[in-house]
Amino acid sequence: MASGIIGASLPRLDAMAKVTGKAKYTGDYFLADMLVGKILRSPYAHARVINIETSEAEALPGVEAVLTHENVPGNIYATAGHPHSLDPERGDVADKTILTSKARFVGDEIAAVVAVDEITAARALKLIKVEYEMLEALLSTEAALREGAPLVHDERGSNIAGSAGYHVGDIDSVMQQADFIFSDEFETGIVQHCALENHVSYAYIDEDERIVIVSSTQIPHIARRIVGQALGLPWGRIRIIKPYVGGGFGGKQDVCLEPLNAAMTMAVGGRPVKLELTREEYMIGTRTRHSVKLKLKTAVSNEGKLLAIQVDAVSNTGAYASHGHSVMLAGGSKFKYLYNFDAIRYMPRTVYTNLPVAGAMRAYGSPQIAFALESHLDNIAVKLDIDPVELRLKNFNRVGYKDPNTGNQILSCGVRECVERGKELIDWDKKRQSFKEKNERGSHKKRGLGMACFSYGTGTYPAGLEVAGARIILNQDGSVQLQIGATEIGQGSDTVFAQMAAETMGIPMGMVNVVSTQDTDISPFDTGSYASRQTYITGMAIRKAAGEVKNKILEFARRISDLPADCLEIADANIILKDSGSIIMPVAAVALQSYYDRQNSEPITADISNNARVNAISFGTTFVEVEVDIKTGQIEIIEIFNVHDSGKIINRQLAEGQVHGAVSMALGYALSEELLFDNKTGKPLNNNLLDYKLPTILDTPVIGLDFIETFEPTGPYGNKALGEPPTISPAPAIRNAVFDATGVAINRIPIRPQLAFEKFKAAGLLEGGDQVVPD
């Protein structure tokens, strides 16, 4: 591996297509005779459909079909983008039907129309008359858990969608013997992915009577299976195609549109039907991030050693389970790798309510847990009068730590170096001292420093199956086609896959053609883009496939040159002698002969499935400086640095891009973003980009970063997770910086100015108390 392709900042393969407008996304395809689908959504949070009258809508000229729960398949299915479970006990919760006879949130899918154009479809929706029987709307987990509360899903018998947890050690005895016990409560808000491309798909029935769905999805192979389950059709009759995707962040790791879109085309004899959500529909009608309430109780020794922790968490999954309790299980399983607790009791509950459906979102439960744990640690540090950095350094795990529940082991760990680098970048020691002095002088603008850490997995093993496919075909000219089932959704995976194949094969990156579109009829099986898994799991499949193709090229070269294959190597697309470096022949010559040699013709391919039974742990930290205006509650980020141990960095520029975007997403999570609902009706109040307060370019500070490059032995090129991790630690770091600046512990995010102002006022920080109002 000396070509230097791994680690280089090479430009994205698709950048040219994207800056010229040539890159085609799902919504950019227009087929002849294409119809438009639209969804009638419930105006009520919880109501039974008594009657649906569709005749007026059906009679409207231009309407081709009206769908309700009465005329679409009624199979109950799970939507989460997970591999199928052979053990029915371990599968995702099946609680969704294509259209419903019971509205479970404002926005639930009651009926649908297929029409010649959008205006006709919209008019037809208004002509559908639905009679509802109103039920009590459960708009909080407290309401849903109340004794005698109505059930969101009658057939499930309870509003608890999941409650499995885990424990390590004998927590009660550790707690009894500890010097200190600290307790805190935290809460996180509901946020939304807000990919720039709304969810969109189109579907038709092809000449072989198979259902083809083109979709903006992270998980084409999983989507095929779920559509098959929802329609009650053999999975092989479904074909999913994924073109360019305009951002996913977990929201498209779920099957939101495809089953209904398939039912729509079936209702119109297989004509193509496009189903494109509006921004307002996307923000409530797809998925959100779970709001979680957490109670933490921690035992600590006199010396600041963390001994035991109990986490009691209640997660709001909304109207359908989607990824449901998996999110809490994943979030709760990943912090163990960071700190060495003798005993842990993790008690999560995932609760149905009558709010939009929460599912997968970047870092999958870890941002919620990390907000609570890392904020809690700073509260403890202040009480023990220990520097927050020191408290963490005393308790970090090391290489060799074994997860007591799963046996999975830390094999590379740069968390200490990350923290040292973060301290240096922000000038921690010096600023801590000088801010303390300045803040005491009593200006209404106070400076503070905060930090937080995280650990995170790469892929889902051992909780989930990890399998990825790669197929490489050597073309006649010595270039290769690389086919993968893993999906490029903007994160840059196609580009790093090309780097990997080029590196292992000894050819320039320009000779690797990545087939970017996934098509379940053609692409190797891969479960898709989630869990920061692709460079790791799919990367290993590519390394194996590229190695196999390389060996076959060398073997073919041996046959035609009579030089032993083990003397040969490939460098810069030439077959060379290993020792002298002298060129024997170009790879292109071997490639051409492999196709057309009359005696030896055997075109060279490799088709690999990589089943991974490892999980590498990524680490990192955020250091942040804030200025807090006590009079207005405004929090300004002065400097922020993320430092990551994601193993070996494959492409520095793309890696930096992942950190930039994830930190920006976390800034919104910490300070501004939250989906709000009317607390009586459950109607969404801000499901648009303006009122939701997505960070704009003016809200976003310079995002500093660095990488501590450890070498992860289980990674194909020493690499481990990066896509999601940078979004975990900024929110608690910011909260801790506000705490440092003001002495006020705010235990809920987002910390919008109003919340901060109320907390400062309650803490008596405002001179003159009641007379002081913001601006």
Binding site: R12, G21, H660, G661, S664, L689, I703
Partner: protein
């Protein structure tokens, strides 16, 4: 109500019969199939649909097709000349300003309008000019770098390379 409009799109004269209620975005995407211009919200929040109208960057989702009569429209497809990318497009590639690419055409168009003014801008001026565009992937960091790079060596009055 059907209206006839005559306008220029990426240097080519077009004559269309449109519905009076159609937006310029609908015309560009659904009639001309210039799908480089994206729709992210349809109500002027996100900037993904930005095109140049007589050299000014405008949200085409808020602009009626009938208003385009007699005007010159440039979409992202019209920026490269004879296969040569514009300075802005090159900068977006070299600075890593592209991720999912859905917001990219809008940003590139607004940056092209800035570049055509022919003078450099401070960081805060760049941010103010781009504040009508959302990006969820990049945290805007490399977009700012790309726009600044595309404005390098610009002096007043040189004009841009996008028209």
């Amino acid at each position: 109500m059907i209206k006839k409009i005559n306008f220029t799109v990426n240097g080519k004269k077009r004559e269309l019969e449109i519905n009076a209620g159609e937006t310029l975005l609908e015309i560009i995407r659904k009639r001309l199939h210039l799908t480089g211009t994206k729709e992210g919200c349809g109500v002027g929040e996100c900037g993904a649909c930005t095109v140049l109208i007589d050299g000014t960057a405008i949200n085409s989702c808020l602009y009626l097709g009938v208003w385009a009569d007699g005007r010159e429209i440039v979409t992202v497809e019209g920026l490269a000349k004879d296969g040569e990318l514009s300075k802005v497009q090159k900068a977006f590639i070299s600075e890593g300003a592209v991720q999912c690419g859905f917001c990219t055409p809008g940003f590139v168009i607004t940056a092209s309008a800035l570049q055509s003014r022919g003078h450099s801008l401070t960081d805060i001026e760049v941010k103010e000019e781009l504040a009508g565009h959302f990006c969820r992937c990049t945290g805007y960091q490399n977009i700012i770098k790309a726009v600044k790079k595309s404005l390098e060596n610009e002096t007043a009055g040189t004009g841009g390379d996008h028209t």
